[in-house]
Amino acid sequence: MTRILIFIFFRALYFPVNGQVVKNSSQLLQRFHSFNTVHILNGSSTTSLAINTVNGFQFSRFFAGIGTGFDYYYQTTIPLFAEGRFDLVEGKNKLQLFANGGFSFPFSSKNRQSEGKTGPYKTGGMYDAGLDYHLAVKNEAFILGAAFSNKQVRQMIDNNIWNPVLNQVENIPIKEEYSLNRIVIRIGWMF
């Protein structure tokens, strides 16, 4: 049931983009896949977790979909991205090369690393690239993968300083842009 609901949602997205009319829904349903993974993120600052869901359609050896999730590394963000996959090795079990890119939305306005740094967060970018190994279980698959992941976190930090031109205290924010690079171990389920 869940699969059908997700499929209906993505079919609704799919049609306007491609402008096509797919007559055979069951055929399309067979092409639909959902990748749901838990990530162990290891970077130079910390080790943390993320969860992702990517949903889309498989065409021959290619897959295209969109994904979102939660990324708890350094500063919690919500990624929203487009993802492409290519089957490097086909078979019952397969090896997939994948890459994605999109936006990284701040989840909280509080700086988790330094509470003294106040000020609004801005949307950053994000991308991942890596390999997934699919271990087939009936029509579904267990996923074990590895990837390189980057996300950007931007904050405009409040900074009240004396402005000698205006002769008054002024909030001139400091822009901090974090580029967080992580190695990801991915474990999940594809259906």
Binding site: G130, A146, L166
Partner: protein, 421 residues
């Protein structure tokens, strides 16, 4: 099965290959201010009346006869012909870098120029000229915002820039030597730079009594003998404690406002001011004026979160202090205010610049029960001087003049707009 092991191995090897790529980086972009210098010779050569400039960041005000001298913070002095208060004319500008305070006696204007003091002949306001530069009389101003001066040049302006640095997260960095001070660190400088009015103005740091010019720095009181008007001579420097803000003369006394209290000094021997009494209060900004029996002190809460003696400065009030016994001043009454700053008194009428609360005019014939006569809203005044029915008010929006000859019908006479940058 062998094939699957191979695929799994590729996945694991990928993890190790990528491990070297993972470094978190932080890119920081911040604004800085850098000083623009000019040689001392060039600066001194340009201290003379020049074409009028628009008022932008006005500071203290000094009224002498038909002229108003308005400090442009750290830039110089505007000269305004006020022979017709209904139509004041901005007639010239004197470029004095680093200028914050001014005082005028007869045809001589005294102004600070960072650590130095300049004496100007203003007998002809269209041809003002430099008569003397007295070096290093305000040593505490030997730096500005972290920049020390040297003996050959002055800071004449500031430029604003932006810089970006990138580093690995966790690395320590050292910023370039640029202006980077927090608001609280600069609170003392702010106090010195807030807009003020001279001639017994409540927020002045220069005042003249007879043949002496008295100046207060952050921690001291200096007496200059100006018997020879163009040749001021520093005769005495008294240490007062820290965070001194204002000086106000009344008869043979000087009322000195600090962030923690009011000090009273006798100038019966003008060369040697002597401590008479003090009145302590909670912090903060606190201009003071006085009459025969009472001193009026406004306390304003810090807007930048600064604290004083470890306590957040949060009070906005007018304190009235009985000074009939100068050695033991005593608090008479406290009145709540909105954002009080400068104040002035003419007869029984007390004028208080209450910031966003407007200009308030009180009947102060009974200090136990001040009666509000009028509030002039829609302006954010910060200092005032009242003379013979004419109130000159410095506000964020401009310099206003009000006719209060009929206290029940105060009328705005004119306004000089301030063209904020």
């Amino acid at each position: 099965m062998k094939k699957y092991y191979l695929q799994l191995s590729v996945t694991i090897i990928t993890i190790f290959i990528l491990q070297g790529c993972v470094k978190d980086h932080l890119t920081t972009t911040y604004t800085f201010f850098s000083p623009v210098y000019k040689s001392k010779a060039e600066v001194l050569q340009n201290i003379k009346s020049a074409a009028p400039q628009p008022l932008q960041n006005t500071g203290k005000l000094f009224v002498l006869g038909n002229y108003i001298f308005v400090n442009e913070l750290n830039k110089g002095v505007h000269v305004i012909d006020n022979s017709n208060p209904a139509s004041p004319k901005n007639i010239s500008f004197i470029s004095i870098p680093g200028n914050i305070d001014i005082a005028v006696k007869n045809n001589t204007l005294y102004a600070d120029l960072f650590t130095d003091m300049v004496t100007l002949d203003i007998s002809n306001t269209t041809n003002i000229s430099l008569k003397k530069m007295t070096a290093n009389v305000f040593p505490e101003r030997d730096y500005q915002y972290g920049f020390a001066y040297d003996s050959t040049r002055y800071i004449v302006d500031w430029t604003r820039g932006e810089t970006t640095s990138k580093r690995e997260l966790g690395e320590n960095t050292q910023r370039e030597p640029v202006l980077w001070l927090t608001a609280s660190q600069l609170s003392s400088d702010m106090a010195a730079s807030s807009a003020k009015i001279g001639v017994s103005g409540s927020m002045a740091r220069f005042t003249i009594v007879n043949n002496y010019l008295y100046t207060v720095g952050r921690s001291n009181l200096t007496a200059f003998n100006i018997s020879s008007s163009i040749n001021p001579v520093s005769e005495n420097v008294k240490s007062l404690g820290w965070n001194i803000e204002t000086i106000y003369p009344f008869k043979d006394k000087l009322f000195i406002g600090s962030q923690t209290g009011m000090f009273i000094y006798s100038i019966s021997n003008p060369k040697d001011p002597s401590f008479v009494g003090s009145f302590s209060h909670a912090c903060f900004k606190d201009p003071v004026i006085a009459d025969d029996q009472y001193a009026y002190v406004t306390l304003r809460a810090a807007t930048d979160g600064a604290s004083c003696l470890g306590v957040a400065a949060q009070r906005n009030e007018l304190d009235i202090v009985n000074i009939s016994d100068l050695m033991q001043p005593s608090l008479v009454k406290i009145y709540d205010m909105t954002e009080p700053q400068g104040l002035s008194k003419d007869g029984d009428h007390l004028f208080i610049c209450d910031g966003k609360g407007g200009l308030k005019v009180y009947d102060a014939s009974n200090v136990q029960d001040l009666k509000l006569i009028k509030t002039i809203g829609n302006i954010k005044p910060f200092d005032i001087i009242c003379q013979a029915g004419n109130a000159i008010v410095v506000a964020e929006e401009g310099i206003y003049q009000f006719d209060y000859s009929n206290i029940n019908s105060i009328k705005m006479v004119s306004k000089i707009s301030i063209d904020k940058k």
